[in-house]
């Protein structure tokens, strides 16, 4: 009987988590090239992902950056208007472009 109680007690004991409270994911500022259109990036891109996620795609063509903005609108349902989409594309191409339109 004693043994049975012991087993029950063991099963009922809480599971131990490696981290017992909320984990904190650090905030990391990335080096931002300031310029025309950055406001649009800040307002339309950075609430969903870091600036690092953008610049670590490597230098890309204008068509690529426009494609990424369109992907955010079409697939991820980001509410980005045409004017902002253009501004973001121009900014990314100017500062993180590879010099090619396509």
């Amino acid at each position: 009987m004693k043994k049975l109680i012991l087993i029950t007690a063991l099963l009922a004991s809480p599971l131990f988590a490696q981290v017992k409270e909320k984990v904190e994911v650090p905030y990391v500022p990335f080096p931002v090239k300031m310029g025309k259109g950055f406001d649009a990036v800040q307002a339309n891109c950075l609430m969903c992902h870091s600036f690092g996620y953008i610049i670590n795609q490597g230098r890309q063509s204008k068509k690529f950056w426009r494609g990424k903005v369109d992907k955010m609108i079409v697939h991820f349902k980001a509410p980005i208007g045409e004017e902002a989409a253009k501004a973001v594309t121009e900014y990314l191409y100017e500062h993180y472009g590879n010099g090619k339109l396509k």
Partner: protein, 401 residues
């Protein structure tokens, strides 16, 4: 160091990747970028790793970790898709649901998973389909990973099959959808869901709550993730919350658009002419990565260097790893470990190398699997727009002094 300086340094390191070369000829694959520094910022339950993004967290394992079969949990790579990851999950109240076309809907607690099902273990490689993407020219879209978006762990949990058996699949059940708990900033953004066809599920597929004998780290999917040995990591859903059985395939972004390669024999296309049809990346190809020495290591003339690294494929198993120290003119067989962790695990290899000449020497490794597939030279790998499935012969150049 002042806190501000600390972050400034982190930012510079993180941003370094953006200043990649853009001068290479179109369609010439090269060695992946291999000079990224570890970030000074450590993420929860992790040592400092190479860092691309904090939201969602994207962390890469440095090359020198790849000398042994198991990758330590705190150095294991991290890749999420959505910015909002639950940062607290209570193991006492957490449940996993099984619903849809089942006889009996289930809500199973972590404790029940650990006590009421057969417990199984599998050692398997987890690799991002975009691992080594920085090898592709022109630069393929996506994070410009070096070769550290991979790791190998012993995963412990329960068979997916056992859960589905307990729920009882209805006759017309065909697809199994897996939901992760990560959330987007907008309600309308599609959730990260993967669908697997029943035929793709064998007894090796498990729901794992443990990794290398410890709880999964939060950033690797605590408290429960899908483990599908041999298959790229985009299907290994993290922080699994719900399993839904259906009879029809739902069209989902992460199935139909992302993680796909050209559906032709070479799985290739050009930047100018993209392939009209694509297919999911699914099974991993044969690959090896050198863990020691690393880039620009100094080694002494006539000293006894032991080259170490890991090799793997999708589960056919590694037959041998060949090493060349003369630019590929001659190849010599490395010594493989005993392979006792199974066909889905890394095979660790080692190779004694005595440098006989001063100056730079390039060490190359080529893995060959049990069905005769071998790694091509980097330059022979054809381009695809997503930069997926790079498996070129690995190279590390050292300096003999």
């Amino acid at each position: 160091m002042e806190r501000r300086d600390f972050f400034k340094k982190a930012a510079v390191v993180a941003g370094a990747a953006a200043v990649g070369s853009n001068t290479a000829e179109a369609g010439i694959t090269r060695q992946p970028i291999d000079n990224r520094k570890v970030s000074p910022v450590a993420f929860p339950e992790k040592r400092p790793l190479i860092m691309y993004s904090d939201r969602p967290p994207l962390l890469e394992t440095p090359r020198d970790v790849f000398t042994s079969v198991l990758t330590p949990n705190d150095q294991f790579f991290v890749r999420w898709h959505m910015p909002d990851i639950p940062t607290h999950i209570d193991p006492d109240t957490f449940t996993i649901s099984v619903n849809g076309l089942v006889e009996k809907e289930l809500k199973i607690s972590l404790n029940d998973l650990k006590t009421k099902f057969e417990q199984v273990e599998v050692t398997a490689v987890l690799q991002c389909g975009g691992n080594s993407r920085s090898a592709f020219q022109p630069i393929a879209g996506g994070i410009q990973w070096g070769s550290g978006a991979m790791g190998c762990a012993t995963w412990k949990g329960v068979r997916l099959r056992d859960l589905l058996d307990q729920a009882g699949l209805k006759k017309d059940a065909e697809w199994i959808g897996f939901n992760g708990s990560e959330k987007a900033a907008y309600y309308e953004t599609p959730n990260f869901i993967r669908e697997l066809h029943l035929e793709e599920l064998d007894d090796h597929v498990i729901l794992a709550y443990q990794m290398n004998g410890e709880d999964l780290p939060y950033l690797n999917g605590y408290p429960l993730r899908l483990v599908i040995p041999g298959i790229y990591s985009d299907s290994w859903v993290k922080m699994l919350s719900n399993i839904t059985v259906t009879n029809e395939y739902k069209h989902l972004f992460f199935m139909d658009v992302a993680y796909r390669v050209p559906d032709n024999e070479c799985e290739c296309e050009t930047h100018e002419k993209k392939a009209p049809k694509t297919k999911p990346i699914t099974k991993m190809n044969v690959k090896s990565v050198i863990g020691y020495p690393t880039r620009n290591s100094l080694v002494n003339l006539k000293s006894h260097v032991v080259v170490r690294g890991v090799a793997f494929d999708d589960g056919h198993g590694i037959k041998k790893v060949l090493v060349s120290t003369d630019a590929g003119k001659t190849w010599d067989e490395a010594i493989l470990d005993d392979g006792k962790l199974g066909r889905y695990a890394y095979r660790a290899f080692r190779y004694p190398f005595k440098p006989e000449t001063l100056g730079k020497v390039t060490i190359m490794t080529k893995a060959i699997n049990n069905i005769g597939e071998e790694q091509p030279l980097a330059k022979d790998i054809k381009w695809n727009h997503g930069g997926y499935k790079y498996n070129g012969i690995d190279e590390v150049t050292v300096e003999v002094i």
